[in-house]
């Protein structure tokens, strides 16, 4: 439960030494309560007070690092129910299920294929994060063998799935460098799994069949000193799983229920009998609150839409997405190809570049840094005006690439034509369409 300024004040030294930059300890306490100051600014606070304050100011959904290496990712740290209230923080990790009866050769081949699923977009590399290996019983060494294979032949993070502690131990030992997620502690093995997670310092998934069961387990594990927990509420129908995700997020954020303030793990692979259906279930989990999402397979057709959805939903609504300023070559332009100019708002870029591409007209697309503002907004804000665009065009190097000096600007920026012609020597500015949908027609009629 968050502390008030007065409660925090009681834990401070009350010497009013001002070394924290605030006039009094009370002022500092008030700043701490509203998140405007950091406790480390106080050189004299006691360790005991530090611990209590850290506890009280901890984020409602516990943040943690999953895995190690290139594909390592963060979970938790969420502070809102709806992305527009601030932003979502940690995109859910996407995982694929491998069962312990898979032979190593097959796994090696699949790892190679899965590794190719990396999609470039807005300067980001979109790709899935982990492989979950599920122990089907029988030979207890299989989990370890396959975990080792994943570590040796890929950089995927790992989740190890077994309720048998000895099997889990062997699996962990074979893959400790990748810091696998332990799945799962249940009411039957909680003491041993908890001890194992604590000893190895690994995140531990907790599985129960309802919320009360989850709270019992997390309370027990927290008392044991296991901190990084991941919740599986056990629901495997769409409606129940959707409700559970909603309840868990509300418990953590609205009710400040520490026992449920952890990221979740979900299993579309256990909720449908085909990958298409799993994909739409995963789409629901991306929008609504899952931490880790395990699918039965990775294929490009399904991963691409899910990764793009994840990128979109987890985009910080407070900050526009941008693309890099520069010259973009579309359809192999030559010295007679048209030159189009627009802003670096990522949506503007996507729409314009995809229309140009669809037109099949070889074109130079100049993207100018407008701090992520769209054409009209950038123009209104004085960032996409004649002299600024002119300076950019002159410096961009485009004039050395084409023989003509015709510059095509967005229809909504028609007003800058004159200033732009003044700024770029001998240029002729053509006003393009207002709507990107009409770019094709415009470009087809263009003559250098």
């Amino acid at each position: 439960m968050a502390l008030t300024g007065i409660q925090i004040f009681k834990l401070l030294p009350k010497t009013n030494c001002k070394e924290c930059g605030h006039p009094t300890c009370l002022a500092f306490a008030m700043a701490l309560a509203t998140g405007k100051a950091d406790l480390s600014s106080c050189p004299y606070v006691s360790d005991e007070a530090k611990e209590q304050l850290a506890e009280a100011s901890a984020p409602p959904v516990r943040p943690m690092q999953i895995g190690a290496g290139d594909r390592s990712f963060k979970l938790g740290g969420e502070t809102v129910l709806f992305r527009h209230e601030k932003t979502f923080i940690s995109p859910p990790g996407l995982g694929v299920l491998v069962t312990s009866d898979t032979d190593e050769g097959t796994l090696a081949e699949r790892l190679k294929v899965w590794d190719t699923f990396q999609f470039e977009r807005v300067g980001l590399n979109l790709r899935p994060e982990l492989v979950a290996i599920k122990d089907l019983g029988g030979d207890s060494g299989r989990l370890a063998t396959l975990a080792k294979k994943v570590v040796d032949e890929s950089d995927f993070c790992l989740a190890l799935m077994s309720e048998d502690v000895e099997t889990m131990k062997a699996g962990i030992d074979a893959s400790i460098e990748r810091r696998p997620v332990i799945y799962a502690a249940t009411k039957d093995n909680v003491d041993d799994m908890g001890a194992l997670a604590k000893e190895k310092g690994l995140p531990l998934a907790v599985k129960a069949s309802d919320m009360n069961g989850l709270m019992e387990l997390t309370n027990k594990l927290t008392d044991m000193g296991v901190k990084d927990l991941i919740l599986d509420s056990g629901s495997r129908t769409v409606r129940r799983a959707f409700e559970d995700q909603t309840w868990l997020r509300r418990e953590a954020i609205v009710k400040k229920n520490r026992a449920l303030g952890f990221p979740t793990i979900t299993f579309p692979c256990e909720m449908a009998d085909n990958l298409d259906k799993e994909t739409v279930i995963a789409a629901m989990f991306i929008a609504k609150y899952a931490g880790i999402i395990i699918l039965s397979d990775f294929i490009g057709e399904s991963l691409f839409p899910l990764l793009v959805e994840r990128l979109n939903i987890y985009t910080d609504p407070q900050r526009p997405m941008t693309v890099e300023q520069g010259i973009y070559e579309i359809n192999g332009p030559d010295e007679n190809a048209p030159v189009c100019i627009t802003t670096n708002f990522s949506l503007t870029y996507f729409i314009v570049s995809s229309e140009i591409e669809a037109s099949r007209v070889p074109t130079w697309l100049l993207i100018m840094d407008t701090e992520g503002l769209s054409v009209m907004t950038a123009w209104a804000a004085g960032k996409f005006v004649g002299d600024a665009v002119g300076i950019f065009v002159n410096k961009s190097g485009i004039l050395g690439k084409v023989r003509h000096k015709k510059l095509i600007i967005p229809g909504y920026a028609a007003a800058i034509s004159g200033d732009l012609e003044d700024e770029v020597k001998d240029s002729e500015v053509l006003v393009g369409p207002r709507d990107a949908a009409h770019i094709t027609k415009f470009l087809k009629e263009f003559k250098a």
């Binding site: 709806f82 992305r83 527009h84 190719t116 699923f117 990396q118 999609f119 977009r121 309802d210 919320m211 009360n212 709270m215 129908t237 769409v238 409606r239 959707f242 409700e243 909603t246 309840w247 509300r250 418990e251 609205v254 009710k255 298409d276 259906k277 994909t279 739409v280 279930i281 789409a283 629901m284 929008a287 609504k288 294929i299 490009g300 057709e301 399904s302 691409f304 839409p305 899910l306 793009v308 959805e309 990128l311 979109n312 939903i313 985009t315 609504p317 949506l347 996507f350 729409i351 995809s354 591409e357 669809a358 369409p433 709507d435 949908a437 009409h438 027609k441």
Partner: protein, 316 residues
């Protein structure tokens, strides 16, 4: 302490709107909780997946989108009939692409004549969706309103620039207005008020928040829709309690990834399945954000979205 379901107190309710007239009708809205939050409220009507057709043989559609309709794609009334009868579409949306002044520029009278034929060919409500070119849209939608008097069609997109003209025709000939604003909650509210002032009753109003494609702005629309739901359901903003409609298929299928051949980008897999899943994933986002009518294109993505709706409301 035993777990108690953390519930929200809602104070508002989405209006119930009936599209169509007589036996050709479909009702949406009436929900008094966030989408699919059935543990704390009611959702008397499922969101409806409407199927789109074009009023001309489509240009630029990927092969996968043409395939299910290839036998009817050059005949809009038959195409509409196939969607309603074979695929069970509860609402047909006609994209008035042929009227685009920058394209085919079909004359107003011809467009309206064809519209009437489509309406007569199906036994479900019809939505007509213009090209966004204000002047032409206004003429076409007003004419369609006139020749289809009393059908309670839904006319879209009705932005501020055309709201008086199209609104007046909708009132005169008894149709529903799709109030369209560019991803902005304040403008959406403002337009609803303007249409109200004009005399358009809430029962004849749908809201088009402007739909972004997957990877092309879906998050903007998604968040505006969640904000609209919040305002209407928890902040007693009765001008934001109007059901929402999303023109999704059109956005998904025109983006380059929906048509990219496998040899251009092998890691994206087969274009047909990829595009179907893109449309279905987009649909899930919009359903969760509060869409009441989702306009989609491919029968297989529609099936996936329908199954998702059923699963989200399934008891037990």
């Amino acid at each position: 302490m035993a777990f108690e379901i953390p519930k929200i107190n809602y104070t508002g309710k989405i209006k119930e709107i009936t599209l169509g007239a007589g036996s050709k009708n479909a009702t949406v809205g009436g929900r008094d909780c966030y989408p699919f939050h059935l543990f704390e409220g009611n959702m008397p009507h499922r969101p409806i997946i409407a199927m789109e057709i074009w009023d001309m043989e489509p240009e630029g559609w990927p092969e996968a989108a043409i395939e299910p309709f290839k036998d009817v794609i050059s005949d809009p009334p038959i195409w509409a009939k196939k969607c309603a009868e074979e695929y069970g579409a509860q609402i047909i949306v006609v994209q008035l692409k042929s009227t685009d002044p920058n394209g085919k520029d079909r004359p107003v009278d011809e467009a309206a004549e064809l519209a009437k034929k489509i309406v007569d060919a199906v036994n479900v409500p019809v939505v007509f969706w213009g090209t966004g070119v204000n002047e032409k849209d206004e003429q076409v939608l007003r004419k369609i309103a006139e020749v289809c008097e009393g059908e309670n069609l839904s006319l879209a997109p009705v932005g501020e620039a055309v709201h008086k003209g199209v609104g007046a025709s909708a009132l005169a000939y008894r149709h529903t207005v799709v109030a369209s604003t560019p991803i902005d909650i304040n403008l959406a509210k403002q337009l609803n008020i303007l249409l109200g002032n004009l005399g358009v009753q809430d029962e004849h109003l749908l809201v088009d928040p402007t739909t972004g494609g997957l990877g092309y702005g879906i998050e903007y629309t998604y968040s505006i829709m969640e904000r609209v739901c919040q305002a209407g359901l928890t902040q007693e903003d009765d001008k934001l309690q109007i059901p929402m409609i999303n023109n999704l298929g059109n956005e998904i299928w025109k983006c380059k990834e929906a048509g990219l051949p496998k040899d251009k980008m092998p890691i994206m897999g087969e274009p047909a399945r990829r595009a179907i899943l893109m449309e279905a994933v987009g649909a899930v986002c919009y359903l969760l954000a509060g869409s009441d009518i989702l306009i989609m294109r491919h029968p297989e993505s529609i099936k996936l979205a329908q199954e998702m709706i059923s699963d989200l409301i399934a008891e037990g």
